[in-house]
Symmetry: C2
Subunit: 194 residues, 2 copies
């Protein structure tokens, strides 16, 4: 028996139409928070100099970071591109790599790109009503390929899993999703570092 | 490091409007599966003798029952009453009691009633867009108070949590949700056994 924090039940609202909660503040990732994450960093800098817009927002609710608890919330990823690369979340491994995550798409059109430390890449398409299971050991990133709509998902994972953002911030993903001939195309990341 | 089964990513569809998956078969609980669960078992028997209708259905996707995995799916609880008691799921503890569960309501109107082994009861109202956090150690049951609509929720919990249905099947919940003066009312369960 692992000792756990006793907490009470909670009801937290996340509007199905826009993913936002009237009950909590979201964490926000602006273009300027994405420095170095996109292939075309010059295009990124130019965009920021014009307007530092919101790329995505998500919720961290402060669930105790213990193995018996489940962290949950929504991610709202707005439409856009940096160069020919679609707006995306930074993506992360879990600090406890052997923990899965589940996404349930409420709105929009996009992909989750996943890769494990052995270099296996997986990709799943998201449309409203699609749940995507990110298995243990896979870094994962959401990508919005819609021109108009935000990509909105409900997510859940073991609350002690933690986030390792640094590996991706340093090395990048092996694969990137870019627009090519008007369609999404997964390409090798020329900036990926072993 | 816990050893875990390596599985690939998955995309499973659950229609947002009716909760049903075109990719998997649901598990179904008919009125006849609910023998002894409602206060008015005579009313239940009478209903079954007329037509053994579907009370609820849900998905078990066969995610490995290990602590690094997350089980997920939808529950579709249909509207109805047995006597003056609203249609509900059987409800269960997790076999590993120290594990939480998260529900995200997609449609309908209902409640989740929870109780822990110390006799503390909690209740949260569900409407579309409301996520309800069931903390570790709480048995939980969904109850549909709508006259027309199914109560549809997406759920996620640690895949090794397991289900202890027997405690509730034997003892019941301490509290029941019945219709009283046209409104839901939480009452003491006269049949509850210590």
């Amino acid at each position: 028996m692992v000792e756990i924090k006793n907490i009470k039940s909670m009801a937290i609202r996340f509007d199905i139409s826009n993913g936002l909660s009237p009950d909590r503040d979201s964490k926000k990732r602006m273009l300027s928070d994405m420095d170095g994450m996109y292939l075309d960093n010059i295009a990124l800098k130019e965009m920021i100099s014009k307007q530092d817009i919101l790329v995505y927002e998500f919720y961290e609710l402060g669930i105790p970071e213990e193995p018996g608890h489940i962290a949950f919330g929504t991610t709202i990823l707005y439409p856009g591109k940096v160069g020919n690369e679609f707006f995306m979340t930074k993506g992360h491994f879990h600090s406890i790599q052997e923990t899965a995550e589940i996404y349930y798409c409420l709105k929009g059109h996009g992909f989750i790109v996943m890769e494990n430390p052995n270099g296996i890449t997986e990709m799943q398409e998201m449309n409203p009503g699609v749940s995507v299971y990110v298995p243990p050991r896979y870094a994962h990133r959401s990508i919005n390929v819609s021109k108009k709509e935000p990509l909105i998902s409900f997510f859940a994972f073991r609350a002690d899993a933690g986030h390792d953002y640094k590996t991706i911030e340093t090395k990048g993903f092996r694969k990137l999703l870019v627009e090519y001939d008007g369609k999404p195309k997964l390409i090798d990341n020329p900036k990926w570092k072993l």
